[in-house]
């Protein structure tokens, strides 16, 4: 089977001189510019690269960036399909779990 992969390099969406990704507006902008929502159904795997110099990606950013695909895939499906790559000091796991929890809680609140 042909495994299709979609790569997103967050380096392309960095604010110049900034070493953090924060804020809902920024998350929305990166979601739209990276076309992650449109490409997700077309591929088997999404790989998101985090530049080594990045020191934090806050849940406010991730919540907006990943809102639609977490909503679509659920927590387990998302973790199966989306991989983050980062060789720097910053580890995304805590922020990612917090963002997924926020998205799914929001979904339940609006149901």
């Amino acid at each position: 089977m042909d495994n299709k992969q979609y790569n997103i390099d967050l380096q392309n969406y960095r604010t110049p001189k900034s070493n953090v990704f924060i804020g809902r507006l920024r998350g929305k902008k990166v979601r739209e510019d990276s076309k992650i929502d449109e490409n997700e159904p077309l591929v088997d795997k999404i790989v998101i690269s985090i530049p080594n110099e990045i020191e934090s990606i806050n849940p406010s950013f991730l919540e907006e960036f990943l809102f639609n695909i977490v909503h679509r895939l659920g927590s387990a499906g998302f973790k199966q399909k989306v991989t983050f790559i980062n060789d720097g000091l910053y580890k995304i796991e805590n922020d990612l779990d917090e963002a997924i929890d926020r998205i799914l809680t929001e979904e339940n609140a609006l149901a």
């Binding site: 953090v20 924060i22 020191e55 934090s56 406010s60 917090e98 809680t105 609140a109």
Partner: protein
């Protein structure tokens, strides 16, 4: 027209005119009575609806106070008190990338606890209030993160710390109090 009618009906006099006038007055009275009836009924309905809304609003505020605010005063206090303890965690001799990561993790852990135990609770009560409180939380969180990882900001300096961290925590707390104080219990979720 009346002249023609009178000339053709000489028996039509003041008496008949008076009778017509009485009928017109009776119709006008009836109309006025109906208008007063409709107006006062509408006013009563509006007043009844207003009283009912006030009653519901009071109940919502009472439940908000008893079920959300009072039990979670400790959660709110814990969050802001613990953020203020950040200064104690900063080593005055060294603040490298790993130290900043540790401080960031501390803020994230406290914020997640506050979000799960207080902010999320508001969603079931008033979505707008929940959004505003969450935005206030995120603004503080993002602002602290920005200061923490800005290489040009020396958080070991007490004046810089006050400006970049302490004042932002105080401002966020004041904003939260303002949001809670201004909640009128008007909107159901």
């Amino acid at each position: 027209m009346f002249q023609i009618y009178f000339s053709q009906n000489p028996e039509f006099g003041l008496k008949e005119l008076s009778q017509i006038a009485q009928v017109i007055i009776a119709i006008a009275n009836l109309g006025l009575g109906y208008y007063v009836f409709i107006y006062s009924r509408g006013k009563d309905q509006r007043s009844e609806k207003h009283s009912s809304n006030l009653y519901e609003q009071n109940i919502r505020l009472q439940w908000f106070k008893e079920l959300v605010l009072q039990p979670n005063q400790i959660t709110i206090k814990r969050y802001f008190d613990n953020l203020e303890k950040l200064q104690d965690l900063i080593n005055p001799n060294k603040l490298d990338s790993q130290d900043r990561q540790n401080l960031s993790l501390y803020i994230k852990t406290e914020t997640a606890y506050y979000r799960k135990n207080f902010v999320d609770l508001l969603k079931g009560i008033d979505q707008q209030l929940a959004n505003d409180v969450k935005e206030n939380m995120d603004n503080l969180f993002d602002s602290l993160t920005k200061s923490l990882f800005d290489p040009n900001i020396n958080l070991k300096n007490s004046i810089t710390y006050e400006k970049e961290i302490q004042s932002k925590i105080a401002s966020s707390y004041n904003n939260l109090i303002s949001l809670i104080y201004n909640y009128k219990g008007l909107n159901a979720r």
